[in-house]
């Protein structure tokens, strides 16, 4: 079968430092797949290389079976792969609605239109509002992003990504900086996304990982250390040693 994401010996170097080292990763269509690993293991770097934010040094990337190795980030987005950021990357002075419309316009190739009014983009605006309703950001639509509490800004981060109508969405620590109660809400909302959407996420909150992931890949020093189901991973001695620690974690019920 073909994978939503497949990498072969994907490598990313910064100067002489190898952040991602010959990673061969396969993520099935519709999977809920987590990547964990020590700080600086290369998780975010892997996300960069996958999405083309930073061009990879060597190896290949396939998205929905198509070789996208040399393609621009734009091309990858257009083929259905979207990401969010570990540290919010929003348009802080714009309204929440404008934030998501920005992505819809790009998707619909309307962003190059400079001769008509934004107000005339009815369908875009409508879709934006619908999406915000879905993300439970409806009441915030006309607020400026900078005025929102952190947790809600985290949601906008995800809403923008969804506005590109991705087949595959890569989330980099979506719950970072959000209080426990809220982070669970965020994950529940993510989990409720359509099943045919492929989900790859990086997260340090093990409660969330073990609760929501179906498969886990452990990255250490840029390379894949092991991969398995949450139950397998939580038992793995090496993973405990380099990452989970003595406290350990168990697959949630």
């Amino acid at each position: 079968m073909s994978f939503a994401i497949e990498t072969r010996d994907l490598t990313l170097r910064f100067g002489s430092f190898t952040a991602v080292n010959a990673v061969s990763l396969q993520v099935r269509k519709g999977a809920r797949h987590a990547i964990i690993g020590p700080n600086g293991a290369g998780k975010t770097s892997l996300v960069h290389a996958l999405t083309g934010s930073i061009p990879s040094t060597s190896g290949r990337v396939f998205i929905s079976g198509r070789d996208m190795t040399g393609s621009s980030q734009r091309a990858r987005v257009r083929s259905g792969l979207t990401r969010t950021f570990q540290i919010n990357q929003l348009f802080p002075k714009l309204t929440v609605l404008d934030n998501v419309c920005m992505a819809i316009l790009e998707r619909e190739q309307r962003s190059k239109v400079f001769w008509t009014s934004m107000a005339a983009e009815r369908s875009v605006l409508e879709e934006g509002r619908e999406l915000l309703e879905l993300a439970q950001l409806g009441p915030q639509a006309d607020k400026v992003v900078a005025s929102l509490p952190y947790g809600m800004r985290r949601l906008v981060e995800i809403a923008i990504a969804l506005a590109t109508r991705p087949d595959i969405i890569v989330l980099d620590e979506p719950a970072a900086g959000v209080p426990t109660t809220q982070s669970e809400a965020i994950f529940e909302r993510i989990a409720a996304l359509p099943r045919d959407l492929t989900l790859l996420f990086v997260e340090h909150n093990m409660n969330l990982v073990f609760r929501f992931a179906e498969r886990i890949t452990v990255l250490a020093e840029g390379a894949i250390m092991t991969e398995g189901t949450p139950a397998e991973i939580s038992k793995d001695e090496r993973v405990r040693e380099v990452y989970l620690g003595r406290g350990g974690h168990h697959a949630a019920a």
């Binding site: 934010s53 348009f91 802080p92 316009l105 506005a163």
Partner: protein, 318 residues
């Protein structure tokens, strides 16, 4: 909200003030035309810097090419003002298109210097191409025809007044339309967060290049209008000082605000003219102190005044 304000309030006020000035100060028509031209130029720059976030220290290149286009065509017998005006627009858009690649790459700081360097290269090239541009002597003996074959540019500057005002209004509307369009929203996105724009698949460099082309073209209109109304084109029109002036005026007015920038250009030009008439030798002191003070008194530029007044009123009432 401010976007509607720009169109429904600020623009009519601008036109009304201009017309009032025409009748009240008939001896100042030349100055008014200059102000309209400079404001047009500033708007073209604001589109680039205030909306796409591309700082440039070489924007006068387009102004100058616009002026030379008129002068050279005029010398070759093509004298219809509307025609040469449009030629200024097109040629500049083309030149901007060629330059866009090297300008768009890099960061703010390098753009500043790349545009600066490009500006000087054009200056030097125009200086050397004596046969075409008249070198340092400039071009003065070209004909400017009558608008629609009817309105001659008279020495009192009446035709020039209405002509340059019309151009300003058209460019005002054009910039307003561009910045309130879907493309305008994308530009704001680029200014606010380029990383995210890339991540949603936006062709950031292409958007910036398109802005550069639009902005260059509009700047060409301003330059062409100056050559037409002053029957003259010379090196300084694409020189560094004009580029620096436009940056200063835009900042003074408040980048990213259309009426603010028009006001900034007006006040800067008018203030310079007034000071230099009062003290032809020492007026730099006045303009210097004025600019320094503006940083403290008007931190958001002239465009920030309404908001400050509002805040002040609110504080008083509460």
């Amino acid at each position: 909200m401010t976007q509607k304000y720009d169109l429904r309030v600020a623009l009519p006020i601008l036109i009304a003030l201009a017309l009032a000035a025409y009748f009240l100060f008939p001896g100042y028509l030349g100055l008014f035309s200059t102000i309209f031209i400079v404001a047009t130029f500033a708007l073209s720059y604001d589109l680039l810097q205030g909306y796409a976030g591309i700082v440039s220290l070489g924007h006068a290149v387009f102004f100058g090419i616009g002026a030379y286009t008129v002068a050279i065509l005029g010398g070759a017998g093509i004298t219809d003002p509307i025609l040469t005006l449009l030629a200024g627009l097109m040629i500049n858009a083309a030149v901007a298109g060629l330059l866009a690649r090297i300008v768009v790459t890099g960061n703010d700081f390098t753009r500043l210097l790349v545009t600066l360097g490009v500006g000087f290269l054009f200056f030097e090239a125009a200086n050397q191409a004596h046969w075409l541009t008249g070198g340092a002597d400039g071009l003065a003996s070209f004909t400017v025809g009558e608008i629609f074959g009817v309105f001659r540019f008279d020495m009192w500057g009446r035709t020039a007044f209405f002509y340059t005002l019309a151009i300003l209004v058209i460019v005002y509307l054009a910039v307003w339309r561009i910045t309130t369009s879907p493309f305008g929203l994308a530009l704001r996105g680029i200014r606010e967060n380029t990383t995210r724009m890339h991540a949603i698949g936006s062709p950031v460099s292409r958007h910036m290049a398109v802005t550069y082309v639009l902005s260059g073209g509009l700047a060409g209109l301003a330059g062409a209008a100056l050559a037409q109304t002053s029957n003259f084109a010379s090196l300084d029109m694409l020189g560094f000082e004009r580029s620096a002036d436009v940056v200063v005026m835009t900042a003074l007015g408040g980048t990213g605000s259309i009426p603010g920038v028009v006001l900034g250009a007006t006040i800067f030009t008018w203030f310079k003219d007034m000071l230099s008439a009062i003290s032809p030798r020492y007026w730099h002191l006045g303009i210097g102190l004025f600019l320094m003070a503006s940083v403290f008194v008007l931190p958001d530029g002239l465009a920030g005044i309404p908001a400050r007044v509002q805040r002040w009123l609110r504080r008083r009432s509460s």
